[in-house]
Amino acid sequence: SPEEQTPGPGWLSEEVKTGTTIIAVEFNGGVVLGSDSRVSAGETVVNRVMNKLSPLHDKIYCALSGSAADAQTIAEMVNYQLDVHSTEIGEDPQVRSAATLVKNISYKYKEELSAHLIVAGWDRRDGGQVFATLNGLLTRQPFAVGGSGSFYVYGFVDAEYHKGMSKEESQQFVINTLSLAMSRDGSSGGVAYIVTIDEHGAEEKVILGNDLPSFFDQ
Protein backbone atom coordinates (compact mmCIF):
# COMPACT_ATOMS: atom_id res chain seq x y z
CA SER A 1 0.00 0.00 0.00
CA PRO A 2 1.36 3.46 -0.80
CA GLU A 3 2.82 5.56 2.02
CA GLU A 4 0.20 8.01 3.28
CA GLN A 5 1.35 11.55 2.67
CA THR A 6 1.09 13.52 5.90
CA PRO A 7 0.77 17.23 5.17
CA GLY A 8 3.57 19.45 6.43
CA PRO A 9 7.33 19.57 6.18
CA GLY A 10 9.25 16.47 5.23
CA TRP A 11 11.21 16.17 8.45
CA LEU A 12 8.03 15.30 10.36
CA SER A 13 7.44 12.10 8.47
CA GLU A 14 10.63 11.32 6.57
CA GLU A 15 13.39 9.33 8.09
CA VAL A 16 16.71 11.11 8.23
CA LYS A 17 19.01 9.54 5.66
CA THR A 18 22.60 10.17 4.85
CA GLY A 19 22.15 10.18 1.08
CA THR A 20 25.83 10.01 0.65
CA THR A 21 29.03 9.36 -1.14
CA ILE A 22 31.57 7.32 0.79
CA ILE A 23 34.81 5.78 -0.44
CA ALA A 24 37.80 3.94 1.02
CA VAL A 25 41.05 3.06 -0.78
CA GLU A 26 43.96 0.91 0.29
CA PHE A 27 47.53 1.95 -0.46
CA ASN A 28 50.86 0.42 0.48
CA GLY A 29 51.09 1.16 4.18
CA GLY A 30 47.57 2.29 4.97
CA VAL A 31 44.13 3.42 3.82
CA VAL A 32 42.35 6.65 2.90
CA LEU A 33 38.63 7.09 3.69
CA GLY A 34 36.51 9.90 2.34
CA SER A 35 32.93 11.13 2.65
CA ASP A 36 30.69 14.08 1.84
CA SER A 37 28.82 15.91 4.61
CA ARG A 38 25.13 16.11 3.66
CA VAL A 39 22.33 14.64 5.82
CA SER A 40 18.84 14.89 4.35
CA ALA A 41 15.28 14.25 5.56
CA GLY A 42 13.19 14.15 2.41
CA GLU A 43 14.14 17.30 0.51
CA THR A 44 15.46 19.19 3.54
CA VAL A 45 19.13 19.19 4.42
CA VAL A 46 19.15 18.55 8.14
CA ASN A 47 22.91 18.84 8.64
CA ARG A 48 25.31 20.18 6.02
CA VAL A 49 28.53 19.55 7.92
CA MET A 50 28.18 16.01 9.24
CA ASN A 51 31.36 13.95 9.46
CA LYS A 52 30.38 10.49 8.27
CA LEU A 53 33.77 8.98 9.02
CA SER A 54 33.34 7.49 12.47
CA PRO A 55 36.20 6.03 14.52
CA LEU A 56 35.80 2.42 15.64
CA HIS A 57 39.28 2.30 17.16
CA ASP A 58 42.55 4.28 17.02
CA LYS A 59 43.48 3.00 13.57
CA ILE A 60 40.13 1.70 12.31
CA TYR A 61 37.42 3.96 10.91
CA CYS A 62 34.08 3.30 9.26
CA ALA A 63 32.14 5.33 6.72
CA LEU A 64 28.38 5.69 7.25
CA SER A 65 25.64 5.65 4.63
CA GLY A 66 21.89 4.96 4.50
CA SER A 67 19.65 5.72 7.46
CA ALA A 68 21.48 8.12 9.79
CA ALA A 69 20.05 6.61 12.97
CA ASP A 70 20.79 3.01 11.96
CA ALA A 71 24.33 3.79 10.80
CA GLN A 72 25.20 5.85 13.90
CA THR A 73 23.84 3.16 16.18
CA ILE A 74 25.74 0.35 14.45
CA ALA A 75 28.96 2.38 14.64
CA GLU A 76 28.45 3.04 18.37
CA MET A 77 27.67 -0.59 19.12
CA VAL A 78 30.73 -1.83 17.23
CA ASN A 79 32.92 0.83 18.87
CA TYR A 80 31.89 -0.55 22.25
CA GLN A 81 32.28 -4.20 21.25
CA LEU A 82 35.70 -3.51 19.73
CA ASP A 83 36.80 -1.75 22.92
CA VAL A 84 35.89 -4.81 24.98
CA HIS A 85 37.53 -7.11 22.43
CA SER A 86 40.80 -5.20 22.32
CA THR A 87 40.99 -5.16 26.14
CA GLU A 88 40.42 -8.90 26.14
CA ILE A 89 43.18 -9.67 23.64
CA GLY A 90 45.48 -7.06 25.12
CA GLU A 91 46.43 -5.35 21.86
CA ASP A 92 45.01 -3.31 18.98
CA PRO A 93 42.25 -5.18 17.13
CA GLN A 94 42.51 -6.32 13.54
CA VAL A 95 40.57 -4.48 10.85
CA ARG A 96 39.00 -7.82 9.90
CA SER A 97 37.62 -8.13 13.46
CA ALA A 98 35.99 -4.74 13.29
CA ALA A 99 34.52 -5.51 9.88
CA THR A 100 33.22 -8.85 11.15
CA LEU A 101 31.45 -7.16 14.06
CA VAL A 102 29.77 -4.72 11.66
CA LYS A 103 28.89 -7.55 9.31
CA ASN A 104 27.32 -9.58 12.13
CA ILE A 105 24.92 -6.78 12.99
CA SER A 106 24.19 -5.93 9.36
CA TYR A 107 23.44 -9.55 8.50
CA LYS A 108 21.41 -10.50 11.56
CA TYR A 109 19.13 -7.46 11.30
CA LYS A 110 19.25 -7.02 7.55
CA GLU A 111 15.42 -6.86 7.23
CA GLU A 112 15.09 -4.12 9.83
CA LEU A 113 18.16 -2.00 9.14
CA SER A 114 18.87 0.25 6.22
CA ALA A 115 22.52 1.24 6.51
CA HIS A 116 25.76 0.34 4.80
CA LEU A 117 29.11 0.80 6.51
CA ILE A 118 32.51 0.58 4.84
CA VAL A 119 35.20 -0.42 7.35
CA ALA A 120 38.84 0.49 6.72
CA GLY A 121 41.99 0.76 8.80
CA TRP A 122 45.52 -0.37 9.46
CA ASP A 123 46.76 -3.23 11.63
CA ARG A 124 50.16 -4.80 12.25
CA ARG A 125 49.32 -8.09 10.60
CA ASP A 126 47.99 -7.15 7.15
CA GLY A 127 48.68 -3.42 6.85
CA GLY A 128 45.99 -1.28 5.25
CA GLN A 129 42.68 -3.02 4.51
CA VAL A 130 39.26 -2.01 3.17
CA PHE A 131 36.15 -4.12 3.82
CA ALA A 132 32.66 -3.72 2.36
CA THR A 133 29.74 -4.98 4.49
CA LEU A 134 26.76 -4.27 2.23
CA ASN A 135 23.66 -6.31 3.18
CA GLY A 136 25.66 -8.48 5.54
CA LEU A 137 28.42 -9.76 3.28
CA LEU A 138 32.06 -9.36 4.22
CA THR A 139 34.56 -8.85 1.47
CA ARG A 140 38.03 -7.33 1.36
CA GLN A 141 38.56 -5.06 -1.63
CA PRO A 142 41.34 -2.77 -2.84
CA PHE A 143 38.80 0.06 -2.78
CA ALA A 144 35.08 0.41 -2.02
CA VAL A 145 32.48 3.08 -2.78
CA GLY A 146 29.04 3.40 -1.25
CA GLY A 147 26.00 5.61 -0.84
CA SER A 148 23.64 7.15 -3.35
CA GLY A 149 26.44 9.15 -4.96
CA SER A 150 28.58 6.11 -5.65
CA PHE A 151 26.48 5.07 -8.65
CA TYR A 152 27.59 8.18 -10.54
CA VAL A 153 31.29 7.41 -10.10
CA TYR A 154 31.59 3.67 -10.65
CA GLY A 155 32.91 4.36 -14.14
CA PHE A 156 35.42 6.89 -12.86
CA VAL A 157 36.83 4.70 -10.07
CA ASP A 158 37.03 1.65 -12.31
CA ALA A 159 38.95 3.62 -14.93
CA GLU A 160 41.21 5.63 -12.63
CA TYR A 161 42.18 3.12 -9.97
CA HIS A 162 45.47 1.30 -10.38
CA LYS A 163 47.51 -0.77 -7.99
CA GLY A 164 50.55 0.65 -6.25
CA MET A 165 49.27 4.21 -5.67
CA SER A 166 51.17 6.25 -3.11
CA LYS A 167 49.54 7.93 -0.12
CA GLU A 168 49.25 11.28 -1.89
CA GLU A 169 47.89 9.69 -5.07
CA SER A 170 45.29 7.79 -3.03
CA GLN A 171 44.22 10.99 -1.26
CA GLN A 172 43.87 12.77 -4.59
CA PHE A 173 41.91 9.82 -6.01
CA VAL A 174 39.48 10.00 -3.08
CA ILE A 175 39.09 13.77 -3.35
CA ASN A 176 38.45 13.62 -7.09
CA THR A 177 35.86 10.87 -6.69
CA LEU A 178 34.02 12.74 -3.95
CA SER A 179 34.04 15.94 -5.95
CA LEU A 180 32.55 14.27 -9.03
CA ALA A 181 29.88 12.43 -7.05
CA MET A 182 28.91 15.53 -5.05
CA SER A 183 28.42 17.53 -8.20
CA ARG A 184 26.09 14.93 -9.75
CA ASP A 185 24.19 13.48 -6.81
CA GLY A 186 21.55 15.71 -5.20
CA SER A 187 21.79 13.83 -1.92
CA SER A 188 25.54 14.41 -1.57
CA GLY A 189 27.21 17.73 -0.97
CA GLY A 190 28.69 20.15 1.51
CA VAL A 191 32.34 19.64 2.38
CA ALA A 192 34.60 16.61 2.00
CA TYR A 193 36.11 14.82 5.00
CA ILE A 194 39.08 12.53 4.49
CA VAL A 195 40.92 10.35 6.98
CA THR A 196 44.34 8.84 6.27
CA ILE A 197 45.31 5.89 8.46
CA ASP A 198 48.77 4.35 8.57
CA GLU A 199 51.01 2.79 11.20
CA HIS A 200 51.51 6.18 12.85
CA GLY A 201 47.84 6.85 13.42
CA ALA A 202 44.82 8.51 11.85
CA GLU A 203 44.93 11.99 10.35
CA GLU A 204 41.62 13.80 9.71
CA LYS A 205 41.23 16.57 7.17
CA VAL A 206 38.39 18.76 5.90
CA ILE A 207 38.27 20.14 2.38
CA LEU A 208 35.86 23.03 2.05
CA GLY A 209 33.54 23.34 -0.94
CA ASN A 210 35.49 25.83 -2.98
CA ASP A 211 38.78 23.98 -2.43
CA LEU A 212 37.45 20.82 -4.09
CA PRO A 213 38.78 20.16 -7.60
CA SER A 214 36.40 21.22 -10.34
CA PHE A 215 35.71 19.27 -13.51
CA PHE A 216 33.69 20.03 -16.63
CA ASP A 217 30.73 21.95 -15.21
CA GLN A 218 28.74 23.90 -17.78
Binding site: E4, T6, G8, P9, W11, L12, E15, V16, V39, A41, T44, V46, N47, V49, M50, S67, A68, A69, Q72, T73, Y109, E112, L113
Partner: protein, 275 residues
Protein backbone atom coordinates in the same frame (compact mmCIF):
# COMPACT_ATOMS: atom_id res chain seq x y z
CA UNK B 1 26.76 -4.06 33.19
CA UNK B 2 25.85 -1.78 36.09
CA UNK B 3 24.10 1.41 34.98
CA UNK B 4 24.38 4.66 36.84
CA UNK B 5 20.84 5.66 35.90
CA UNK B 6 17.50 4.02 36.49
CA UNK B 7 16.44 3.63 32.85
CA UNK B 8 15.90 -0.06 32.34
CA UNK B 9 17.76 -1.09 29.20
CA UNK B 10 15.81 -3.99 27.73
CA UNK B 11 17.37 -7.22 26.45
CA UNK B 12 20.21 -6.79 23.97
CA UNK B 13 19.47 -6.46 20.28
CA UNK B 14 16.78 -4.61 18.38
CA UNK B 15 13.14 -4.99 19.44
CA UNK B 16 10.60 -4.11 16.78
CA UNK B 17 7.57 -5.60 18.59
CA UNK B 18 5.81 -2.27 18.81
CA UNK B 19 5.97 -1.58 15.07
CA UNK B 20 4.32 -4.94 14.44
CA UNK B 21 1.68 -4.07 17.02
CA UNK B 22 1.03 -0.67 15.39
CA UNK B 23 0.55 -2.28 12.00
CA UNK B 24 -1.91 -4.73 13.55
CA UNK B 25 -3.79 -1.86 15.25
CA UNK B 26 -4.27 -0.08 11.92
CA UNK B 27 -6.53 -2.95 10.86
CA UNK B 28 -8.94 -2.13 13.70
CA UNK B 29 -10.03 1.11 12.07
CA UNK B 30 -11.73 -0.71 9.18
CA UNK B 31 -10.37 1.38 6.37
CA UNK B 32 -10.90 4.76 8.09
CA UNK B 33 -7.86 6.88 8.93
CA UNK B 34 -6.10 6.16 12.19
CA UNK B 35 -6.39 9.19 14.51
CA UNK B 36 -3.54 11.66 14.03
CA UNK B 37 -1.49 12.79 17.00
CA UNK B 38 -1.42 16.46 17.93
CA UNK B 39 1.65 18.15 16.48
CA UNK B 40 2.78 21.59 17.50
CA UNK B 41 3.89 23.48 14.41
CA UNK B 42 6.85 25.19 15.93
CA UNK B 43 9.99 27.19 15.53
CA UNK B 44 12.81 26.31 17.91
CA UNK B 45 16.44 27.34 17.65
CA UNK B 46 19.70 27.17 19.57
CA UNK B 47 23.08 28.89 19.32
CA UNK B 48 26.40 28.23 21.06
CA UNK B 49 28.08 31.50 22.09
CA UNK B 50 31.23 32.47 23.95
CA UNK B 51 30.01 31.80 27.49
CA UNK B 52 27.32 29.16 26.94
CA UNK B 53 24.21 28.31 24.96
CA UNK B 54 21.08 30.30 24.03
CA UNK B 55 17.86 28.40 23.27
CA UNK B 56 14.73 29.99 21.80
CA UNK B 57 11.19 28.90 20.97
CA UNK B 58 7.82 30.31 19.94
CA UNK B 59 4.79 29.67 22.18
CA UNK B 60 2.00 28.57 19.86
CA UNK B 61 0.39 25.13 20.14
CA UNK B 62 -2.05 24.32 17.34
CA UNK B 63 -4.78 21.72 16.97
CA UNK B 64 -5.30 21.73 13.20
CA UNK B 65 -6.19 25.37 12.39
CA UNK B 66 -7.10 26.46 15.91
CA UNK B 67 -4.51 27.83 18.31
CA UNK B 68 -4.95 25.56 21.31
CA UNK B 69 -2.43 27.29 23.58
CA UNK B 70 -1.06 30.80 23.06
CA UNK B 71 1.54 30.54 25.79
CA UNK B 72 2.79 26.98 25.66
CA UNK B 73 6.26 26.30 27.09
CA UNK B 74 8.44 24.49 24.58
CA UNK B 75 11.73 24.85 26.42
CA UNK B 76 11.78 22.00 28.91
CA UNK B 77 13.91 21.64 32.02
CA UNK B 78 16.20 18.62 31.96
CA UNK B 79 18.84 19.42 34.58
CA UNK B 80 20.14 22.59 36.27
CA UNK B 81 22.62 22.92 33.42
CA UNK B 82 20.64 21.38 30.56
CA UNK B 83 17.46 22.54 28.81
CA UNK B 84 15.69 21.01 25.82
CA UNK B 85 13.45 22.51 23.09
CA UNK B 86 10.91 20.13 21.62
CA UNK B 87 9.14 20.01 18.23
CA UNK B 88 6.88 17.35 16.75
CA UNK B 89 4.16 15.47 18.62
CA UNK B 90 3.37 17.52 21.73
CA UNK B 91 2.77 14.60 24.11
CA UNK B 92 5.91 12.80 22.96
CA UNK B 93 8.23 15.77 23.49
CA UNK B 94 6.68 16.45 26.91
CA UNK B 95 6.92 12.89 28.21
CA UNK B 96 10.31 12.12 26.69
CA UNK B 97 11.87 15.18 28.29
CA UNK B 98 10.20 14.45 31.63
CA UNK B 99 11.50 10.87 31.57
CA UNK B 100 14.99 12.10 30.70
CA UNK B 101 14.87 14.72 33.44
CA UNK B 102 13.82 12.29 36.16
CA UNK B 103 16.50 9.82 35.10
CA UNK B 104 19.21 12.44 35.22
CA UNK B 105 17.99 13.67 38.61
CA UNK B 106 18.48 10.19 40.03
CA UNK B 107 21.91 10.06 38.42
CA UNK B 108 22.77 13.40 40.03
CA UNK B 109 21.65 12.19 43.44
CA UNK B 110 23.66 9.00 43.07
CA UNK B 111 26.85 10.62 41.80
CA UNK B 112 26.66 14.05 43.40
CA UNK B 113 27.33 15.95 40.19
CA UNK B 114 25.50 17.67 37.37
CA UNK B 115 24.92 15.46 34.33
CA UNK B 116 26.80 16.00 31.09
CA UNK B 117 24.95 16.90 27.91
CA UNK B 118 26.46 13.92 26.08
CA UNK B 119 24.85 11.62 28.68
CA UNK B 120 21.43 13.17 28.06
CA UNK B 121 21.98 12.80 24.30
CA UNK B 122 22.97 9.14 24.63
CA UNK B 123 19.93 8.27 26.76
CA UNK B 124 17.61 10.05 24.32
CA UNK B 125 19.20 8.44 21.30
CA UNK B 126 18.94 4.98 22.89
CA UNK B 127 15.26 5.44 23.68
CA UNK B 128 14.18 7.03 20.40
CA UNK B 129 16.12 4.51 18.34
CA UNK B 130 14.54 1.63 20.23
CA UNK B 131 11.08 2.94 19.29
CA UNK B 132 12.09 3.19 15.65
CA UNK B 133 10.49 6.58 14.94
CA UNK B 134 7.16 5.83 16.63
CA UNK B 135 7.93 8.55 19.21
CA UNK B 136 7.60 11.79 17.22
CA UNK B 137 10.05 13.92 19.16
CA UNK B 138 12.46 16.32 17.46
CA UNK B 139 14.59 17.77 20.23
CA UNK B 140 17.27 20.42 20.53
CA UNK B 141 19.39 19.86 23.64
CA UNK B 142 21.62 22.60 24.93
CA UNK B 143 23.69 23.03 28.05
CA UNK B 144 26.97 23.76 29.76
CA UNK B 145 29.04 21.17 31.58
CA UNK B 146 32.65 20.64 32.65
CA UNK B 147 33.63 19.76 29.07
CA UNK B 148 32.25 22.96 27.55
CA UNK B 149 29.17 24.44 25.86
CA UNK B 150 27.20 21.97 23.77
CA UNK B 151 24.25 21.96 21.39
CA UNK B 152 22.80 18.72 19.97
CA UNK B 153 19.76 17.80 17.93
CA UNK B 154 18.09 14.38 18.22
CA UNK B 155 15.66 13.18 15.57
CA UNK B 156 12.68 10.87 16.08
CA UNK B 157 14.49 7.89 14.57
CA UNK B 158 17.46 8.39 16.89
CA UNK B 159 19.92 10.30 14.73
CA UNK B 160 22.14 12.84 16.46
CA UNK B 161 23.76 16.01 15.09
CA UNK B 162 26.21 18.17 16.95
CA UNK B 163 26.47 21.65 15.46
CA UNK B 164 27.10 25.20 16.77
CA UNK B 165 23.65 26.48 15.69
CA UNK B 166 20.36 24.72 15.00
CA UNK B 167 16.74 25.27 14.16
CA UNK B 168 13.93 22.73 14.08
CA UNK B 169 10.17 22.71 13.67
CA UNK B 170 7.90 23.72 10.82
CA UNK B 171 9.51 27.16 10.84
CA UNK B 172 13.06 25.80 10.71
CA UNK B 173 13.94 26.91 7.21
CA UNK B 174 13.00 30.52 7.92
CA UNK B 175 14.92 30.50 11.21
CA UNK B 176 17.93 28.80 9.64
CA UNK B 177 18.17 31.59 7.08
CA UNK B 178 18.69 34.13 9.85
CA UNK B 179 21.11 31.86 11.71
CA UNK B 180 23.22 31.09 8.62
CA UNK B 181 23.49 34.79 7.90
CA UNK B 182 24.27 36.05 11.39
CA UNK B 183 26.16 33.27 13.16
CA UNK B 184 29.82 33.66 14.05
CA UNK B 185 31.86 31.59 16.51
CA UNK B 186 32.28 33.10 20.01
CA UNK B 187 29.44 35.61 19.91
CA UNK B 188 28.78 37.91 22.86
CA UNK B 189 25.65 37.29 24.97
CA UNK B 190 23.56 40.17 23.65
CA UNK B 191 24.39 39.38 20.01
CA UNK B 192 23.54 35.71 20.57
CA UNK B 193 20.18 36.53 22.20
CA UNK B 194 19.36 38.92 19.37
CA UNK B 195 20.30 36.30 16.78
CA UNK B 196 18.05 33.65 18.33
CA UNK B 197 15.23 36.15 18.77
CA UNK B 198 15.55 37.11 15.11
CA UNK B 199 15.51 33.46 14.05
CA UNK B 200 12.35 32.65 16.01
CA UNK B 201 10.77 35.86 14.78
CA UNK B 202 11.44 34.82 11.18
CA UNK B 203 9.79 31.48 11.90
CA UNK B 204 6.77 33.19 13.46
CA UNK B 205 6.37 35.53 10.49
CA UNK B 206 6.83 32.94 7.76
CA UNK B 207 5.15 29.88 9.25
CA UNK B 208 1.49 29.51 10.12
CA UNK B 209 2.18 26.87 12.74
CA UNK B 210 4.41 29.19 14.78
CA UNK B 211 3.39 32.38 16.49
CA UNK B 212 2.57 34.40 19.58
CA UNK B 213 5.45 35.09 21.95
CA UNK B 214 9.14 34.22 22.00
CA UNK B 215 10.79 32.43 24.94
CA UNK B 216 14.54 32.58 25.43
CA UNK B 217 16.71 30.47 27.75
CA UNK B 218 20.34 31.39 28.37
CA UNK B 219 22.55 28.73 29.98
CA UNK B 220 26.03 29.61 31.23
CA UNK B 221 28.45 28.31 33.85
CA UNK B 222 27.02 30.86 36.27
CA UNK B 223 23.46 29.65 35.88
CA UNK B 224 20.32 29.77 33.80
CA UNK B 225 18.27 32.77 32.70
CA UNK B 226 14.85 31.58 31.51
CA UNK B 227 13.13 34.62 30.04
CA UNK B 228 9.49 33.84 29.40
CA UNK B 229 8.38 35.72 27.42
CA UNK B 230 11.45 37.43 25.97
CA UNK B 231 9.34 39.23 23.45
CA UNK B 232 5.58 39.52 23.36
CA UNK B 233 3.64 39.34 20.14
CA UNK B 234 2.89 42.78 18.72
CA UNK B 235 -0.50 41.44 17.62
CA UNK B 236 -1.74 40.89 21.17
CA UNK B 237 -5.02 42.67 21.76
CA UNK B 238 -6.44 43.77 25.07
CA UNK B 239 -10.08 42.97 25.76
CA UNK B 240 -12.09 46.11 25.04
CA UNK B 241 -14.86 45.63 27.62
CA UNK B 242 -16.03 43.44 30.49
CA UNK B 243 -17.95 40.35 29.48
CA UNK B 244 -19.73 39.74 32.80
CA UNK B 245 -23.52 40.21 32.68
CA UNK B 246 -25.52 41.31 35.70
CA UNK B 247 -28.25 38.95 36.91
CA UNK B 248 -31.56 39.82 35.22
CA UNK B 249 -30.02 40.61 31.82
CA UNK B 250 -31.70 37.53 30.39
CA UNK B 251 -35.48 37.57 31.32
CA UNK B 252 -36.92 34.32 32.73
CA UNK B 253 -40.11 33.40 30.86
CA UNK B 254 -41.29 30.20 32.63
CA UNK B 255 -40.15 28.14 35.59
CA UNK B 256 -40.93 24.48 36.27
CA UNK B 257 -39.86 22.65 39.44
CA UNK B 258 -39.87 18.83 39.50
CA UNK B 259 -39.17 17.31 42.93
CA UNK B 260 -37.15 14.10 42.78
CA UNK B 261 -38.78 11.38 44.90
CA UNK B 262 -35.91 9.81 46.84
CA UNK B 263 -36.30 7.02 49.39
CA UNK B 264 -33.82 6.28 52.14
CA UNK B 265 -32.91 2.64 51.54
CA UNK B 266 -30.12 2.12 54.06
CA UNK B 267 -28.58 4.26 56.77
CA UNK B 268 -25.38 3.43 58.60
CA UNK B 269 -23.50 5.58 61.09
CA UNK B 270 -19.79 5.19 61.64
CA UNK B 271 -18.27 6.95 64.62
CA UNK B 272 -15.04 8.77 63.95
CA UNK B 273 -12.52 8.79 66.71
CA UNK B 274 -11.31 12.37 66.73
CA UNK B 275 -9.42 12.24 70.00
Amino acid sequence: MALSNVLQTPAAGFNFDNTARNEALKGLFEGAQAPKPLKTGTTIAGVVFKDGVVLGADTRATSSEVVADKMCAKIHYIAPNIYCCGAGTAADTEKTTELLSSNLTIFSLNSGRNPRIIMAVNILQDMLYRYHGQIGANLILGGVDCTGNHLYSVGPYGSVNQVPYLAMGSGDLAALGILEDGFKPDLELERAKELVRGAIHAGIMSDLGSGNNIDICVITRQGVDYIRPYQESEYKENRKMKYKYRPGTTPVLTEKVVPLKLEVVQESVQRMDTA
